[in-house]
Symmetry: C2
Subunit: 357 residues, 2 copies
DNA sequence: CCGCTGCTTGCACACGTGTGCATTAGCAGT
DNA sequence: ACTGCTAATGCACACGTGTGCAAGCAGCGG
């Protein structure tokens, strides 16, 4: 089950000592200043010595100490990324987009999870500040007014991704998807299929997107001249904001939706829609012939599931890329812009006209 | 679509100046040494001044500079985590386990993607080294002999997670799941259901796990007295090691498996099994009644799909936690141990006895 | 020969924090 | 009063790198 570790190293190489520009300087018979300049290709140093020192650095296995550089230059080339849940398939893609752009700009990424808890979110951000990151990205931020003060201390360029805080503050920048538009697209699709009794299932763990998608849902109904009914709307209480929790919410929400007599359900996200699908499977309800289901996000899984899920695509990787790009602009002293991305309806096989009466 | 950024700050607060212990010392009328000691609760400082300075630090909004601390103490309290793909649902959980343990130990995590490319893997590790991380974790490492030399320079405690390199080197520590055992469990399950013609579908993008699972598959067949047949084994060529790529491999592999006349298929991982399921759905093949399918990993999606997938569960979060724990042991100068975790069969609804002849 | 210019190099300091050693003050014992 | 001891504090240096300024050297025109 286990084997002992290798502890001894090649003798003669002193384990502890990382070589520095001072070491190179000693060997080359110059000052550490010259080495520093030579390695940065400074025109102040003659071509000849430059080459010689660079060659020497290579031979001696020199690796610049980014810590010392950071202390001197007051830039760490590092950003912090806070997400509610690392294993969430939606956020995974956002993280991927962020890392992609960050790396191509020479920045490293600190990743930390907040578990949808404002207290932990603050703690994570304070850790980022201690480490003197150049910028901060927060996905699905729960920061509210009471925490705002504690953050005012920290003067670090920050961009929010799909912020869940009800009141945006103007100090921060943001990138988000247009929830209201997305919800309208989904519900209009159901209306066009002929549905007249359409339910909405959301969760309290992401209050802002829940509210905005509900508003879009209501707006679409209103445009079609349908009166909203309270029993068509199910908001599940939840704190955790994890994929497992979302599936569970979906499964539990099916009953009250069925008793409300809807022929189609629009869900706040794909995981909840999958919960609905699973509950339907258990109860022998055929989707889409007896009930239509629409999700939100278009996570990878949505196209793999049977039946493939009709949903609203959030440009997830783009969201991450764009947020990072905005942060880069801020770091280059340019004026950052807030962006709202348009989502897109993806029709698959979980929606159909309502069953004939 | 966009709005201008807030640029002006509250007047009077100098944006640029982060306050340091020297600033506190000036205000308190003591030396920076005393402040440093007071903040670290050194017994050298009197109770009285200690309290006074800590209070002052709080009022002045002091945040310790981790960069300067790192330079002095030669420890960054930082680790690097390299993964092939950030959006991979398997790795997401591993990352989550790692971050969980790291954070509770006061360490921050650098995350970077290698895209299954040894060249990029080296580059990522070199970046980690420049930043002087205290330790490194690599998931699904592709490091082979030719790169080994370049890594010997870097003397940083390193733990590999499910290494894909064919030849382990003894310099590094590792944590892995027992692929051979997992494959045997899966195939023995199919044999017990009565299957005699069982296929294996793998991908060349993860050579080691592919080979080991193939060996487990062959061992199980041999134990049952069945001769292995070449046409039962399909290895898809792939480089990328992304979830999308895996699904595609599965979809493409179905045809050759069907023409080989198998009644059950064991897949190298869940995403490939999902590809098989999707291809079956298109062609109207009923799973599990006409064909049984078994996956590997037990990712979240496996239980959400219809039919729920029979698969071999890798303890993913445990894998991440354990790897981080081993790294912590190494950092505390304890002797690290290599671990092999046992996987577990999870029977769901994608397997059944073979169709009657 | 002098002064000027351009090229190359080094000195000395800065970044913010931690720590070995010396210093001072206070106090008790003889 | 002198010695010895403890508690509290500060000095000075270290960590590894970047940079303003001065200095040295060579060449060149006057």
């Amino acid at each position: 089950m286990s084997s002992p570790s290798p502890t001894s190293r090649i003798a003669g190489t002193r384990r502890s000592h990382e070589i520095s520009i001072a070491d190179i300087a000693r060997v080359a018979g110059v000052s550490h200043t010259t080495v520093s300049r030579a390695l940065r290709d400074s025109p102040l140093i003659s071509q000849e010595t430059r080459k010689r020192i660079q060659q020497l650095a290579l031979e001696m296995g020199y690796t610049p100490n980014a810590i010392a550089q950071s202390l001197q230059t007051r830039r760490t080339s590092t950003i912090g990324l806070a997400v509610t849940s690392i294993a969430d398939p939606f956020l995974s893609e956002v993280v991927r987009g962020v890392e992609e752009i960050a790396r191509s700009a020479g920045l490293s990424v600190f990743l930390s999870a907040t578990h949808n808890d404002p207290e932990q979110e603050i703690a994570v951000i304070e850790t980022f500040h201690r480490r003197r990151v150049d910028g901060i990205l927060v996905a699905s931020s729960r920061i509210t007014g009471e925490y705002k003060q504690r953050l005012d201390q920290i003067r670090v360029p920050t961009v929010l991704i799909n912020s869940q805080a009800e009141s945006q503050y103007e100090l921060l920048h943001s990138v988000a998807v247009d929830d209201l538009l997305g919800a309208r697209l989904a519900v209009e699709h159901l209306l066009a299929l002929g549905h007249r009794a359409i339910g909405y299932v959301g969760t309290s763990s992401r209050p802002r997107s829940c509210r905005q998608r509900l508003e879009g849902y209501q707006a679409a109904l209103a445009s079609a001249g349908l009166a909203p009914r309270e029993e068509w709307v199910t908001i599940m209480a939840a704190e955790e904001a994890s994929p497992q929790e979302d599936v569970l919410c979906g499964r539990r929400a099916l009953l009250s939706q069925l008793s409300a007599g809807v022929t189609a359900i629009f869900c706040q996200n794909d995981m909840m829609a999958i919960g609905i699908l699973m509950a339907c499977h258990r109860r022998g309800i055929a989707v889409p012939h007896e009930l239509s289901v629409v999700g939100f996000d278009d996570i990878e899984m949505a196209s793999c599931i049977i039946p493939p899920l009709t949903t609203v695509r959030q440009p997830r990787i783009e969201l991450g890329r764009l947020a990072m790009q905005v942060l880069l602009d801020l770091l280059h002293e340019q004026e950052g812009r807030n962006h709202v991305l348009a989502p897109m309806l993806v029709v698959r096989e979980s929606t159909a006209p309502p069953p004939a009466l």
